[in-house]
């Protein structure tokens, strides 16, 4: 009786996992098509958008239900169906790594859709509301398909769907030239990345003999290295690794805020997923893989946040800060790769665990901040933080949510950013070789840029917080809505609760992260889990103690001042007779010292007024930090290409027989070459 009972139990489990894969697939289909029913409704009504949001919520909850089974126990469940294409097959696999990335895919777009119902009402945007809804859903569905695809062809199809959907969703307001330009840059950048991926998968097919994304531990070292470099560049374009980030700030800044949230919170992570997936399949033997990823991560992190400080467009700041967070994730991933090549399971656990937890955390707080930015832009009708100020008095709830998001992204305890960075730090310090084992001290030095990133992030977000919410309004609000609609507040509140929850109880995430680490690499002697490698329960305890301290001091102060006289007066103006709101420190002046300190990376541009005469005329001072790579490398390069490549147009005559002649010539040349070869 016993064996049979066991078997039926495993059968049942298999069935459950199969069911969950099917639920995820249903979710993908419904998400992708959620915008279509809206085509039957009037473009000026809200009906289409409401139906789409309803379908998205339904699909995402189905998907999350499918994921729920995996949170306790890891398994690999596959499903494959033959299809009509000559290559590849429709084959999907869900494993622990996919699960980690599926969670944000199902959570953030769903909340964004609910937020969009208020933020981007179709009835107010009849010209683009419908297409935005369609491509928004398609973007979410395509991202989920990317994560589960088990076949290179299917993966590339999903990848391309995602890229195109993101292009159309982010260029919703394509009447503005800025939006158009950012969209084109994005489209070019993403396709250069895809080209690398096509080359990579062609090589993959050549080496492994199939398009299946199955473990390829037998690949020779040389080919593994080539595959790794190609995939790192290809996926690096999507993730926004410096210097491949050029498309990112513009595209994020010009998209509608809920699309920015999805692009920044989830779509960038698809690039991270690609790198994690490919490194899981390939044999990692050389140190330079991890070393390269670690170095690129540190540079990306510091430069990303330094650029963020130089901006005064709220969404560009957030976009550059996403680059910084990708840098942090890369630092963790680089450490994990070194753990593979050095056979140190603890580096894999802490590095990859920290990186993957940061993927979750970043999707939580960055979406929160982008939603917040959308609400701010709604109220102020500008993206320039130097023209805002004093929003706290009008929108206290929005400010509270912003403080939570900003403190979390600065990795301040007791919020979630701290938990993931703490794991990465622990791993980096372990690379010193603490318990007498041979370490890799060069990797440990990455703790220093990580600390610098932390301090710079505080500077960046205090600048944003101060300029937007604090002080007095720098100009009259054109049209401020007294209260924000609940439809915009609720998604933000959900994300903020997520930040607090993960920050206080990071233990909850360890099972998933452990399973993902085991799926990513199985090293000899790898039995420990993250919970045993790093005492996460202390994070919980310390978080609670900190909250208790703050509460106690606040309570004591309140009691103490109850009987004291508390009077209100204007801010101390140092005796100046007529202070105005315009003399406040702006965001630009706040960041000016740091911009000057990092001028060697940022290349800031300033236009100084010349005041020569005795009675100077009205003068203007301008300072800005444009993207140095885009401005000084990419744009000139494409300018040169644009000048010389048209010379090739002589070949393009538009006459069919000429093209047939070209084919003939090339075939003859190839024949000659093969003749020489033989």
């Amino acid at each position: 009786m016993q064996p049979m009972g066991c078997r039926s139990l495993t059968d049942n489990l298999d069935n459950i996992y199969m069911l969950s894969v099917q639920m995820i697939l249903v979710a993908i289909v419904v998400l992708s098509l959620s915008g279509l029913p809206g085509c039957l409704c009037s473009s000026r009504s809200m009906a289409g958008q409401r139906i789409a949001v309803f379908l998205m919520v339904l699909a995402s909850l189905t998907g999350l239900g499918g994921i729920a089974v995996w949170l306790k126990q890891a398994a690999v469940s596959a499903l494959s169906v033959p299809w009509f294409l000559p290559w590849g097959q429709f084959s999907v696999t869900v494993d622990a790594i996919s699960i980690v990335f599926l969670v944000p895919v199902f959570v953030v777009p769903m909340l964004g859709a609910i937020y969009g119902l208020r933020y981007w009402r179709q009835s107010e945007h009849p010209e683009n509301g419908r297409s935005l809804v369609i491509f928004y859903g398609l973007l979410a569905g395509a991202m989920a398909l990317v994560v589960v695809a088990h076949d290179a062809v299917l993966f590339l199809i999903a990848w391309e769907m995602m890229a195109i959907a993101a292009f159309f969703a982010s260029t919703a307001e394509h009447d503005y030239p800025d939006v158009c330009r950012a969209g084109w840059i994005y489209l070019i950048a993403t396709h250069i990345g895809t080209l690398c991926l096509i080359a990579m998968f062609a090589l993959w097919r050549h080496e492994t003999g199939s398009f299946a994304l199955a473990s390829a531990q037998g690949v020779s070292t040389k080919f593994a290295g080539t595959l790794f470099v190609l995939s790192f560049i290809g996926f690096g374009f999507k993730a926004g690794v410096m210097p491949l980030h050029v498309w990112l700030p513009g595209a994020h800044a010009n998209a509608p805020s809920h699309v920015s949230a999805v692009m920044s919170g989830v779509m960038l992570k698809m690039g991270v997923y690609g790198i994690v997936r490919m490194t899981a399949l390939l044999p990692v033997t050389a140190d330079w893989w991890g070393g390269a990823v670690l170095t690129v991560g540190a540079v990306t992190g510091v430069a990303g946040i330094a650029y963020a400080i130089g901006q005064n467009d709220i969404k560009r700041m957030l976009a550059y800060s996403s680059i910084e967070n990708i840098g942090i994730i890369m630092i963790g991933l680089g450490l994990a790769l070194l753990g593979r090549s050095h056979s140190r399971p603890i580096w894999v656990l802490l590095g990859l665990g920290g990186a993957l937890l940061h993927v979750w955390n970043h999707s939580l707080f960055k979406s929160l901040l982008f939603f917040n930015a959308g609400a701010i832009i709604h109220a102020c009708h500008t993206r320039n933080i130097d023209r805002m100020g004093g929003l706290a008095k009008q929108m206290p709830l929005l400010m509270l949510l912003f403080v939570i998001g900003a403190a979390a992204i600065c990795a301040l305890p007791p919020l979630n950013g701290f938990a993931s960075e703490w794991l990465i730090y622990s791993g980096l310090f372990d690379a010193l070789g603490l318990d007498g084992t041979a370490g890799f001290p060069a990797a440990a030095i990455a703790a220093v840029p990580l600390a610098m990133i932390g301090a710079l992030a505080v500077a960046c977000f205090v600048k944003m917080f101060g300029a937007v919410f604090l002080g007095a309004p720098r100009r009259e609000m054109a049209n401020h809505h007294g209260t924000l609609p609940a439809g915009m507040i609720l998604p933000m509140a959900a994300l903020a609760l997520g930040c607090i929850g993960v920050g206080l109880f990071p233990m909850m995430t360890t099972t998933v992260l452990d399973n993902a680490s085991k799926t990513w690499a199985s090293l000899p002697g790898q039995t420990a889990s993250i919970a045993s490698a790093a005492p996460l329960k202390w994070i919980t305890l310390m978080g609670l103690v900190l909250v208790a301290f703050i509460g106690l001091i606040a309570f004591a102060l309140k009691k103490h001042t109850q009987t004291r006289i508390i009077s209100k007066a204007g801010t101390w103006d140092c005796g100046y007779a007529r202070p105005t709101a315009r003399i406040q420190y702006t965001g630009s002046s706040f960041g000016q010292m740091l911009v000057r300190l990092f001028a060697f990376i940022l290349w800031p541009k300033t236009a100084r007024p010349t005041t020569g005469r005795l009675f100077p005329e009205l003068a203007q001072f301008k300072s800005m930090v444009p993207d140095a790579i885009l401005d000084r490398v990419v744009t000139p390069l494409f300018g040169v290409l644009g000048t010389y490549l048209p010379m090739l147009r002589v070949l393009q005559r538009g006459q069919t027989h000429l093209y047939v002649l070209y084919i003939l010539v090339i075939v003859i040349i190839l024949l000659i070459f093969s003749g020489i070869g033989v």
């Binding site: 102060l557 508390i566 300190l597």
Partner: protein, 305 residues
């Protein structure tokens, strides 16, 4: 248990003594009589009795600033071991929490300064966050050195002198690190040559200018947490500079008190014989501190190969 109790009592009661000792030293150098060493205690008592004036521009962030700062510094003080005793709270990786607690304090202090809308306070906040970006890396280089030396990620183990004392090869890195940490200490607790707590010109101040608008009990909390920060960072430095241990364990407590007062006198001497640096030269000083700690790390790696 008794040790924990003594730790907490010292952490809570001793810090206001340090600015008093520094000021007495400076007065002595200038040939003045100077205020009593207990002056900050008197000031705190006076401030706690007063009412408050709160700017109409501000929000709850203005009040949260001092509260969160005090809570963060207090928790950091619990993570820090004193002399040869174990810290009240110790776990592997507490050094990172220690560093980030100061980040939390900085976030809320500078946000409270921005909350007033005063250009001077914005100036102070900008300087505070800028200089922290340079002192933080120096601190982490020092942490790397200490972690490598002790083989531990727990502040208590990292800072305690190993049983046989440091080997002579470790002296050079430790000297470099202590110079770097001393500069970090001066910068983080806003002393000369980075910041002058006695200046009266808002344009040249860092820490004092951020708290211009706080008054009464809130200002008292700010002064108190500033002195506690000096105490905590000073104790960390003492572990490295003076790794002394008394014969009997309880003798370490009075020894520590003598040491920390000695450190305050040294800071007072530095303040008496130096002028405040021009604002544009401070990054240079902090980068030098980072390089000291960084070269300490490189030397250590060379020796431990």
């Amino acid at each position: 248990m008794t040790d924990t109790l003594i730790h907490v009592v010292l952490l809570i009661t001793l810090p206001p003594l340090l600015p008093g000792v520094i000021n007495k030293t400076k007065a002595w150098f200038a040939g003045r009589k100077g205020p009593s060493v207990l002056q900050l205690y008197y000031d705190l008592i006076k401030l706690m009795r007063k009412g408050m004036v709160i700017s109409t521009t501000t929000t709850w962030i203005f009040i949260a600033g001092p509260i969160v700062t005090l809570a963060a510094v207090l928790l950091a003080g619990m993570l820090m071991p004193i002399s040869g005793f174990k810290a009240p709270i110790a776990f592997a990786g507490d050094l990172i929490l220690f560093a980030y607690l100061f980040g939390l304090a900085r976030f809320f202090t500078t946000a409270a300064a921005m909350d007033t809308g005063s250009p001077f306070e914005g100036m102070g906040a900008a300087r505070e966050v800028t200089f922290a970006c340079l002192s933080e890396p120096a601190l982490f280089f020092a942490f790397l050195v200490m972690a490598k030396l002790s083989g531990s990620l727990m502040l208590t183990c990292m800072l305690h002198t190993p049983a046989g004392g440091f080997s002579s090869a470790m002296v050079a890195p430790l000297i470099l690190v202590s110079i770097g940490l001393f500069v970090v200490l001066l910068a983080e607790s806003c002393r000369i040559p980075v910041d002058d707590p006695n200046t009266h010109l808002e344009l040249t101040m860092i820490h004092e200018v951020m708290v211009l608008d706080h008054s009464g009990p809130l200002f008292g909390i700010i002064l108190y947490s500033a002195s506690m920060k000096l105490f905590v960072l000073g104790t960390i430095l003492l572990h490295i500079v003076l790794p002394l241990q008394a014969e009997t364990m309880w003798m370490n407590w009075p020894l520590f008190i003598v040491e920390i007062i000695g450190l305050a006198i040294v800071i007072g001497i530095v303040e008496s014989i130096m002028a405040r640096l021009r604002m544009c030269h401070i990054p240079g000083l902090l980068i030098a501190a980072m390089l000291f700690c960084g070269f300490g790390f490189i030397l250590l790696m060379r020796y431990s190969q």
